[in-house]
């Protein structure tokens, strides 16, 4: 009886190993390598002070304190930013505080883009050389950071907010912070 079990195992071992390998590879294939988890989650938002895009004056990261805020990294040259723009506008209409970080953009291009598509941002900080974005670990627009009242980064979305999964994940954290 024991022998039978052993030969059974021996015979099917290659098949079992194969199935396990296929399962691992199948999971691996469905993962998105572009989603690099941010080490900044749970940490204070990196400090910055940048000129405003549309008005005189500047925006300081201190202004993030006291409100739950979305910091949305966008640029007029970024196609996916256009894709998510309706969602950003919708959130703004719902009363979500959204600060734009205009990433490596030409000021005129950015202004035209907003004039055409609408401006859902309470304020827009212009990061012309992308130096602040490096501090925030940005590696491509659009990216959206959720910052709580204490100025701690709670969530980061890489890619457009119009994506259902991205949106749901963001909103579940947002609602838990608003409570």
């Amino acid at each position: 009886m024991k022998n039978k079990q052993q030969t059974f195992l021996k015979r099917f071992m290659p098949l079992i190993v194969f199935v396990v390998l296929v399962a691992l590879l199948a999971v691996g294939l469905t993962l998105n390598p572009r989603l690099v988890p941010s080490p900044l989650i749970g940490k204070p938002a990196p400090a910055f002070e940048l000129p405003l895009l549309l008005r005189e004056g500047s925006f300081s990261s201190k202004e993030l304190l006291g409100h739950v805020t979305l910091v949305s990294v966008w640029a007029s040259w970024c196609f996916a930013c256009r894709q998510e723009h309706e969602t950003v506008k919708y959130l703004s209409q719902k009363g979500v505080r959204i600060i734009g970080l205009n990433y490596k953009d030409d000021a005129d291009d950015a202004k035209n883009w907003l004039a055409k598509l609408g401006n859902p941002y309470q304020a827009i900080a212009a990061d012309r050389d992308g130096r602040v974005a490096i501090d925030w670990g940005v590696y491509g627009a659009p990216e959206t950071f959720l910052v709580d009242k204490e100025g701690i980064i709670r969530h980061k979305v890489i890619g457009p907010l119009s994506d259902e999964k991205n949106y749901q994940a963001l909103m579940s954290v947002y609602e838990s912070l608003e409570k």
Binding site: V36, P39, K104, G130, R131, I134, W136, G137, Y139, G140
Partner: protein
């Protein structure tokens, strides 16, 4: 198996094949060193700093073109990060400080050489573990084949028969 090969193929063919392979491989190394040419030039005050710069930009991964390092990538962000590394070196920052700067922002992901910590133990020990498991498997397999042989040892009866057969032949 080896016999079959040497019978089928003339050894001269093998030699010229190896030569061709060598030429191809050498050619490939030439091509890859051409594509890795720097895009912009930085001025360094010492050779050491320049070396550190190249070492760092080759060890850090570009997040936009994920299979390239910061030295090779043409992505805008890679260009910015090269400049960032350069400025930090000019400011007298050490290699470790610059690596920390990158990891704080982009995570361990930017390191082509992953750090040694509990989360990456499987990564570092995995190959050794698989090797040991493989060795255990091979040794056990060989042993079980040995015992198979013993199981089939001749019985007294059979030995008697062989003796008889020998006797008959003589």
């Amino acid at each position: 198996m080896l016999n079959i090969i040497s019978k089928r193929y003339d050894t001269r063919n093998l030699k010229s094949g190896a030569l061709l392979l060598l030429v191809l491989l050498t050619g490939m190394t030439l091509v890859s060193s051409v594509t890795a040419a720097p895009i912009e030039t930085f001025k360094f005050e010492s050779v050491d700093t320049e070396k550190t710069f190249h070492k760092l930009s080759e060890e850090l991964r570009c997040l936009v073109c994920q299979n390239q390092n910061i030295a090779e990538s043409n992505a805008d962000l890679a260009k910015d990060l090269r400049l960032e590394i350069y400025n930090m070196l000019i400011d007298g920052k050490t290699e470790d400080e610059i690596v920390d700067f990158m990891v704080q922002r982009y995570g361990d992901y930017v390191l082509y050489r992953p750090p040694f910590k509990p989360l990456t133990w499987l990564l570092w020990f995995g190959p050794v573990i698989i090797f040991i498991l493989g060795m255990i498997f091979v040794v056990r397999h060989m042993r079980s084949q040995d015992t198979d042989g013993e199981d089939e040892a001749l019985s007294d009866e059979e030995i008697e028969r062989i003796k008889n057969l020998h006797a008959e032949q003589e």
